[in-house]
């Protein structure tokens, strides 16, 4: 699977790493039960601190996307619902879009029209 992080981005690195896992699940690049790289290994290739990777894995554990097993590393949980993850990602993006539009004085109808135009 592909991991993308941008230290200069506004989004925290922890969230960027967690988003890479969610995206891989939605795209079918990761399946239930699949093992994720160790925090140290991933930290080395992404050039970030191992604690940052561990924090991202903890976020994903709280969302019940991954599970930690002693001696077996970090694995994708057995009951991961990829469509639900995709939906929550889209809802989150829509909320950001809506908030940004309202902040600039646009109405909901105008934002809906713009979406139709873009689509």
């Amino acid at each position: 699977m592909l991991w993308k992080v941008d230290p200069a981005a506004r989004e925290p690195l922890v969230e960027q790493i967690a988003s890479s896992v969610r995206l891989a699940l939605v795209r079918g690049q990761l399946a239930a039960g699949e093992r994720l790289p160790s925090a140290r290994e991933l930290a080395e290739v992404l050039d970030v601190n191992a604690n940052t990777v561990l924090a991202a894995y903890r976020v994903l554990r709280e969302e019940e996307i991954v599970e930690f097993r002693r001696g077996r590393g970090v694995r994708v949980g057995p009951a991961v619902d990829a469509p639900a993850i995709a939906r929550s990602a889209v809802v989150e993006a829509a909320r950001t879009y809506l908030a940004e539009g309202l902040r600039h004085g646009w109405g909901v109808d105008e934002l809906t029209d713009l979406l139709r135009e873009l689509g």
Partner: protein, 146 residues
């Protein structure tokens, strides 16, 4: 922006053979204090041989056999070329591949694999589910060097 590719491949065949040999050893070997460690070693060997880890980042490549332990690190400058291939079952076991004295195989199963040629002439074949993505990333990294 930092982009990395990682994969962990577990070939079920190796694990199943390891477990089967472990069970047979546990049933045949006596006394049991000898049988149990022998069975555990056979199962661990199956898991070790059936697992391949790959991590490709901006600084190079990390490959390892088995789910535990340190990886072999290959710096970016040591990689001459990266390409994709699809291995048959025979090729996954080293049969029918072009002869190269300095070839290394981390191919526990047939299917897509990454072929990495190093500047010293060594050729590595590594099983990974999406070698295209890994090869594109390696090519993009090499482009940055120029």
């Amino acid at each position: 922006m930092t982009t990395a590719y990682t994969s962990t491949v577990v070939a079920r065949g190796h694990v199943v053979v390891g477990v089967a040999l472990g069970v047979v050893a546990a049933l045949l070997i006596r006394p049991w204090p000898v049988a149990v460690p022998v069975a555990l070693v056979l199962v661990a060997t199956g898991v070790y041989l059936g697992t391949v880890r790959l991590a490709l980042g901006a600084d190079g490549l990390r490959v390892a056999q088995g789910p535990w332990g340190r990886s072999r690190t290959i710096p970016r400058w040591a990689v001459a070329s990266v390409s994709c291939t699809t291995l048959t079952t025979a090729q996954a076991f080293g049969l029918g591949l072009p002869w190269n004295r300095r070839a290394s195989r981390l191919t526990p199963r047939r299917g897509p694999a990454l072929v990495v040629e190093l500047t010293d002439g060594e050729v590595l074949r590594i099983t990974t589910p999406d070698p295209g993505a890994a090869a594109s990333l390696a090519a993009a990294n090499r482009k940055d060097d120029r």
